[in-house]
């Protein structure tokens, strides 16, 4: 890829999409496809999860929340990593689109974080008898939500977009360095204090349909995240580049359509 960049015919290189003007139409073309894939996968996954998969012998039908919960929890953690990655790329390469990307990802990550916590507590009430226990996973998920909120609050509070981009990137990276430290400290805190009353670590032996449903839902969450992020990137690009000619032309064309 790095070789491609040095070639004289730059317009062929994949890096031409690093320019917001080039990425805008690409994102517009790709987003509906990912949205469609997300809708189909979610429909299949929910059908598998709620109608095909057998009822759990121990937990009854309550367990079915995992079809939403697990996908949301995975995504919330993964999105933070991707956000930190784009922040790093932005700081190193000084590319505007990278910062826009990480800011477009944050609300979706925070949403999945919240969904994971919410569905988890709905599952916890009938299973553990409490909406919340100070388990290591729950606690670090909660702190991850705070990290997302801090990132979004900081980037929205700074008016100058250049400063907002870089400040947000620094806090995203500081957060990424701290996430493992937070996770392990919370884990040790819990085990040092009291024997965990409920163990989440034991992987339940799972029927194949259950696992399939969960994986399909995870892929649906992926496709949804990509689609929503691309649409959000488009809005952010329009907002940032509103003084340029191509955005004016684009907006005129849109108005003509309506």
């Amino acid at each position: 890829m790095m070789k491609d960049m040095q070639k004289p015919e730059r317009s062929k290189s994949i890096f031409r999409f690093a320019a917001p003007q080039m990425f805008y139409p690409l994102a517009g073309r790709l987003a509906p496809w990912f949205a469609g894939v997300a809708a189909i996968l979610a429909a299949v996954g929910l059908w598998l999860g709620f109608f095909v998969a057998p009822t759990d012998a121990v937990q009854g039908d309550v367990y079915r929340v995992i079809y939403i919960h697990v996908a949301a929890a995975w995504m919330s953690m993964f999105v933070y990593m991707v956000m930190a990655f784009w922040s790093f790329v932005g700081l190193v390469m000084n590319t505007r689109l990278s910062f826009i990307m990480s800011q477009a990802l944050a609300p979706t990550g925070a949403m999945f974080c919240f969904v994971a916590l919410w569905t988890g507590s709905l599952w916890g009430k009938p299973t553990w008898g409490a909406y919340w226990v100070w388990d290591a996973r729950l606690t670090s998920q909660l702190l991850l939500l705070f990290l997302y909120l801090g990132f979004m609050a900081l980037t929205r509070a700074i008016e100058d977009p250049r400063r907002a981009d870089k400040a947000g990137a620094i806090i995203a990276l500081v957060g990424a360095v701290n996430v493992p430290i937070i996770y392990f400290s919370v884990k040790w805190w819990n085990t040092l204090h009291q024997g965990a009353s409920v163990s989440l670590n034991k992987a339940p032996s799972m029927a194949t349909t259950m696992l399939t449903g969960m994986l399909v839902m995870a892929f649906a969450a992926w496709a949804y995240t990509i689609a929503v992020t691309l649409w959000r990137v488009r809005s952010l690009i329009l907002e940032r580049e509103r003084h340029t000619e191509w955005v004016a032309a684009e907006l005129n064309a849109l108005e003509g359509k309506i």
Binding site: L149, G150, L154, R163, I171, I181, L192
Partner: protein, 225 residues
Amino acid sequence: MSRALGPFAAVLGRDLLLAWRGRADVLVTLAFFVVVVCLFPFGVGAEPNQLRAIAPGVLWVAALLSTLLSLHRLFAQDHADGTLEQLLLTPEPTVLWVVAKICAHWIATGLPLLIVAPGLALLFDVEQGALGVLVLSLALGTPILALLGAVGAALTLGLRGGGMLLALLVLPLFVPVLIFGAGAVDAYLSGSGAQAHLLLLGGGLLGSLALAPLACAAALRIAVE
């Protein structure tokens, strides 16, 4: 060696002198710490066993909050009167004087907490042998809070509502320090020994001393740009 330490000592001395001349600010931070700690018995009741059980956590949370409250002063004044820009323009390495400023800040706000904490612990009837561990955990932990908080303070420099934003940014990062700091005292009291917690705090201090000033220097450059 002395050439590298020259600007470090100069900034450290200047900030300490400024802190000394504005003693009232430092005392307010300390008074806040004392008042917050004294509020807890009113909230949870004065039952001695319960107070003994929550003492390490209460002292640590109060230390954390008073550190947080003093953080915005770290760069705000220098930012307002232009000193910060002049410091950034000097050829001296930014990281060097950033560390000096954080050191001075900790000496002015963190060190008094260490001195007062054992006395407050006695109000909660903490066993006297644990006081040393408490002071040691605060001595290792509060500099980490200052170092991490400095990054947040630099990022939120000059923003509207910067104080609340600063809290939202740095409080999640403070959690490990709180866990190991309060945990050290708990571990000592339960008889399992505080060594593991104190070693982890020491490691955290070294790690944040190595990394946080770099992030802080970058954040300051962004803020002043």
